[in-house]
């Protein structure tokens, strides 16, 4: 049973932030649940037993100072980093114990977008979106966009339409604005067919208008399309505006978990207060 109670064992008193009762989710309700996640780089413990969960239909925002381990937590979920310990469930499946093709298949339930967007700039928006759906295609159909099956191209077109960029399908990705590129990246994640969408600082490089647009899109993907969305942000105001819940990380531990509407200034100050100040 996962609860969003304050984490025990923190060295600092937790902010008074009530846990919403309706958020007492069981692993079966959640699309993503992480418990006891630990990760060290060399001697440096980056994640010290992190628990959190995201249910279908909600947008959870992760806040925390630079280096608190937010990116590492997301990278462990999608397999870009290897967790030392802990349990990850994606779409009801435990990742531990799975290997090879089964693990790859289970991991496909989570898609990710990045601050640096990571599109192939020379390719068209549509071709970039198609690349999200390559898994399972034979190599002969995936060597170049010209060989992509029509079914994939049409699915990708639907994803582009979902993010409002159907009319830019054939434009080079590099020629789009930052906000448009990030929406193409979201479409690529959608084309993967994942139930869980992770976003690592998706709006940090965008201007305020584009940032609001992308955050509104993520919130809509949660509420209308029923995705479980977790986004790392550095803007508490955007979190208040768009998120359902907010989770705060301090030095690799979760120190805060509350309704976005209940997020107070003192909670935020506690998150960004550095140890040595």
């Amino acid at each position: 049973m996962i609860s969003y109670d304050r984490q025990a064992g923190g060295s600092r008193p937790l902010p008074a932030c009530p846990t919403p009762p309706e958020q007492q989710l069981t692993p079966l309700d959640t699309a993503l649940s992480v418990s006891g996640l630990r990760k060290s780089y060399g001697d440096r413990q980056v994640l010290k037993g992190v628990d959190f969960a995201v249910a279908p239909g909600e947008l959870v925002v992760l806040l925390g100072a630079n280096g608190s381990g937010k990116s590492t937590a997301l990278r462990c979920v999608v397999g870009l980093a290897e967790a030392d310990a802990g349990e990850i469930r994606l779409a009801g499946r435990r990742l531990r114990g799975l290997g090879g093709a089964e693990l790859a298949k289970a991991r496909r339930a989570a898609a990710m977008v990045f601050q640096q967007i990571h599109l192939v700039r020379r390719r068209s928006a549509l071709d970039n979106v198609c690349a999200g759906g390559l898994a399972g295609l034979p190599l002969s159909r995936s060597l170049a966009p010209a060989f992509f099956p029509r079914e994939l191209r049409e699915r990708a077109m639907a994803c582009l339409q979902r993010v409002g960029l159907a009319d830019r399908a054939h434009d080079r990705a590099g020629s789009l604005s930052g906000g448009q590129q990030q929406r193409v990246a979201v479409a690529r994640a959608l084309c993967q067919g994942a139930e869980v969408l992770l976003a690592d600082e998706p709006v940090s490089a965008l201007d305020p208008a584009a940032a609001t647009q992308v955050m509104a899109l993520l919130a809509e993907l949660a509420r209308r399309d029923g995705l479980a969305v977790a986004a790392v942000l550095h803007q508490p105001d955007l979190a208040r505006e768009h998120a359902d819940r907010v989770i705060g990380l301090v030095d690799g531990e979760i120190r805060l978990s509350c309704h976005a509407s209940a997020l107070s200034e003192s909670d935020i100050d506690a998150l960004y207060q550095s140890e040595d100040s």
Binding site: V78, K105, H118, V120, R121, R122, A131, L134, S142, C191
Partner: protein, 270 residues
């Protein structure tokens, strides 16, 4: 003057003393190396000054160049085409093997595969194309074919190395994004790595074509056909005026290839 004068602030002393001894040691070692090199190469400006009339005689025989169409210019032009053809085939036919070794020899893959392909490339690079040419001449006889084979072998090593370095420099982000989406390694290479590096790979390919045309001249000197072969022949027959014609042709050929590849590379870089 509207700029405000800032007060001076003394520079705080640094803990670490500059390491003068190290500078002195490096200077002494470098100096000794150059003195040694001077001796080993029998470097002697005096000999050059004393022998100037040898050079004048040589140039006198070489000038004016022999421009007889049937016996010199026409065979020379044909040989230039052969030289160009050796360089072209030697470059193009080395593409598949170079690409494979470059992909396998990019850091971040299986360590054994990485080390093996790096070693193969180093070996091919370490053996000069002239040596490869001498080896292949024993197999397929004198002629341009031996030259092509030699260029392929050497060029696979060099171009594979250049290409794998270009691939290592590429931003790993798009590749990570596709890995998260469940793409296999071959799909990641085809859809994230290659599209990002193809312009620089083509640029390096053109640069190698340029170098290979020049190498095929040298290969001609050891019997692999082309205009280099004619130069060698005319020197052996003391026909220095013929040789001068061929060298002029080579100059034109090399400048043309150089300009062409530079122009294409400039277009690609835009």
């Amino acid at each position: 003057m509207t700029t405000t004068e800032r007060p001076r602030v003394p520079v705080p002393a640094r803990d670490r003393k500059p390491f003068y001894l190290g500078v002195v040691v490096v200077a002494v070692v470098l100096g000794a190396a150059h003195v040694g090199a001077w001796r080993v190469t029998e470097f002697s400006p005096g000999a050059l000054v004393d022998g100037w009339h040898g050079m004048i005689r040589f140039l006198g025989e070489a000038l004016p160049p022999d421009l007889d169409w049937a016996s010199v210019v026409q065979p020379g032009l044909e040989a230039c085409l052969t030289t160009l053809a050796i360089g072209l085939l030697g470059t193009t036919l080395s593409v598949p093997a170079a690409l494979l070794l470059a992909v396998l020899g990019t850091r971040g893959r299986n360590r054994v595969v990485y080390q093996v392909s790096r070693s193969v490339m180093s070996l091919l690079r370490a053996v000069p194309d002239v040596v490869f040419a001498l080896i292949f001449v024993t197999a397929v006889g004198l002629g341009p074919f031996a030259g092509v084979l030699a260029l392929i072998c050497h060029n696979v090593g060099v171009m594979g190395k250049l290409w794998s370095e270009a691939m290592e420099e590429v931003d790993p982000g798009p590749a990570d994004a596709l890995r998260v989406a469940g793409a296999r390694e071959s799909q990641v290479v085809a859809n994230a790595v290659l599209p990002a590096v193809v312009p620089s790979l083509v640029g390096l390919l053109l640069y190698r074509f340029d170098v290979n045309v020049r190498s095929s001249l040298v290969l001609g000197l050891v019997g692999a056909g082309g205009v280099g072969f004619l130069i060698n022949q005319s020197i052996q027959l003391f026909a220095f005026d013929e040789m001068a014609t061929y060298i002029l042709m080579v100059l034109v050929l090399i400048i043309a290839v150089d300009l062409l590849s530079a122009a294409v590379r400039r277009r690609l870089a835009e």
